[in-house]
């Protein structure tokens, strides 16, 4: 296994986060072809599948854009997320991803948020492509 390229300053701040991520992915075959949003999505893959109906630790994100929040059968959502009553669009996804606990207090997604607005825009653009 070849060594993973990494930056020297290894404190995890949001500014170097995408650099580390791309560094890791550069070892996989198609890293250069990944759009920024898809790279950012690697944060999500431990819990979320992009295959329709495949629920895991998190619900499937296939077709997420435009869908009612907390609406897929076969996944047990938190009341917090159900109560938002939102449909996932640019605005709601942007707010949720910026600070999930502020958007839906008590929801159970183990993710702290993506503070960078440009990154969120890229990620949301990628989420739109998931059918």
């Amino acid at each position: 296994m070849s060594p993973i390229k990494r930056t020297r300053a290894l404190r995890l701040s949001r500014h170097i986060f995408p650099v580390i991520l791309l560094g890791i992915l550069s070892e996989t075959s198609q890293a250069q072809d990944l759009k920024p949003g898809e790279s950012l999505f690697q944060v999500c893959v431990a819990c979320h599948s992009t295959k329709a109906g495949e629920q895991g630790m998190g619900p499937s994100l296939a077709g997420i854009f435009g869908r009612q929040a907390a609406s897929q059968p076969g996944f047990r959502y938190s009341s917090a997320l159900k109560k938002t009553g939102v449909a996932w669009n640019e605005q709601s996804l942007n707010a949720y991803l910026a600070d999930p606990q502020a958007f839906a207090p008590g929801n159970r997604m183990p993710y702290s948020g993506m503070p960078d607005a440009t990154e969120r825009t890229d990620l949301i653009a990628y989420l739109k492509t998931l059918k």
Partner: protein, 591 residues
Amino acid sequence: MARNFPEVDVVVVGMGWTGGIVSKELSESGLSVVGLERGAPRSAEQDFSVPHIRDELQYSVRTGLMQDVKRDTLTIRNHPSQTALPMRKLGSFLLGEGLGGAGVHWNGHTWRWNDHDFKIRSQYEERYGKKFIPQEMTIQDWGITYAELEPYYDKFERVAGISGQAGNVQGKLQAGGNPFEAPRKNDYPMPALQSSLAVDMFGEATRKLGYHPFPMPTAQSSVPYTTPDGARMGQCQYCGFCERYGCEANAKGGPHIAVIPFAIKQKSFQLRTHSWVTQVVMDRDNKVATGVQYTNMLTGEECFQPAKLVILAAYGLNNVHLMLLSKIGKPYDPSSQKGVVGKNYSYQTGTGATLFFEDKTFNPFMSTGGLSMMMDDYHSNWDFDRGPHNFIGGATMGGGMFHGRPIEYHPVPPGTPQWGKPWKEAMAKWYSRAMNISSSGSVMSYRNNYLDLDPTYRNALGQPMMRMTFDYTDNERRLSIFSADILQKIGQSMNPTIMTKANPRVEPWSVVPYQTTHNTGGTIMGTDPANSVVNTHCQSWDVHNVFVMGASVFPHNSAYNPTGPVGALAYRAVDTIKNTYLKQPGALISA
């Protein structure tokens, strides 16, 4: 009569780290494998879901993910002259149970033991002279070297997903890492975790004193990570519910993420949970194992699983128990010092102190299992002269908190009443203004520290429980006094408002307060069947088709946590099985 199953190539007893590794590797190479787990199945999405898992009462206090000692436990005594009594509740060590075993609820600390441990007797004799080693201390060289194990450490670190800062990569010292570590080919798979205030402060203080602090190498993912096999791990959220809990985000390396699912993908692998193995079954000549006997705990039915190869991977203590129950090898007797099975049981020692800072905010609940700054200046540092201190072994020291869960953690300064208004006020004031420093010390092996079968007490299946006879000796007391002294100096140098005194552990070992779940020995490794139970490939000297995986093969215990070598030795044994043993089953090393 027992229900008979069709014979398979391999039966694996226990589905924790080593059982998972062996099951995956051997089933992927085309062998038929049955994995038997005494406890229940588990999945992260159900068992570790939030908020269910965030229940300190259920999982910390009532040890919800751990072994149910109502149906099986050990008996305990400090010395052979005493009568052993059952460990009626979990305390000192927290045994795992269920799919993933303790690999689900561990704290993730993953070290590479080196030649200072593997060649312990010859190194101490060379440096300090034969007389420096007390007569009743039964340490021995393991028969392996760090160099042999290095590629397997590397493999295990990638599979478990270890975050850390390397100190020595191919001989080049790296800033911020452990300068005393043995050289490694590659860096850690992930960078070190973020630091907390406590971690920063301990690092600063120890650096000022001339020590060499570095972040704890640990199995929490500092970044989202995919293992070489494709297991996906989330980024650690610093939730403060690590040890004793399963992770909701797959951000803590564990067999249920890294290896067991890949075994399950193989058609040639069968997983049976609720399957309590009671004995390894031998052939008529007592030379070869024919499989294992187990009880299906869902129905009570007795079963026989025939197999060509038997892997004991049930956690060190259970491995020893099974060897004794199956009458494989000669049980150790401390008075005659004959026999080997059960010999050289060991544990760890330690001490600690709490520092209170009126002007700091530590937020202990914002934490994770490996969040600490460590120093190795008194363990793998061979330049540290043990002579004047007259002990063998060493201690790592560290600072940081792993959690802030309030039932377990509500620090108050010494002298605070235990209840009432002043107690409440002290808890409110100091909860976020305190941090811990601690040391983890090695324990050598001794004539009178051993495991055997209890003459009186039986478990729920009517089998004799295993009896544990263990205590510290003057060697460990001297080490602990020394460690406490160092911690005291470090703590004072940080100028806390108040500091509890670091008290050395000089009383007899007690089963009551939690210490560590680092039980070692009982089926020890060696180069000579006269002084070991398994060879360096973890193969039983007595029965060539029985392999024993886990810390029961360690001839003594280090200051380091055991999981690094547990994983690495399992991978090495698997390689030997695949490349050598299966081609010509038999004793790998002639006795």
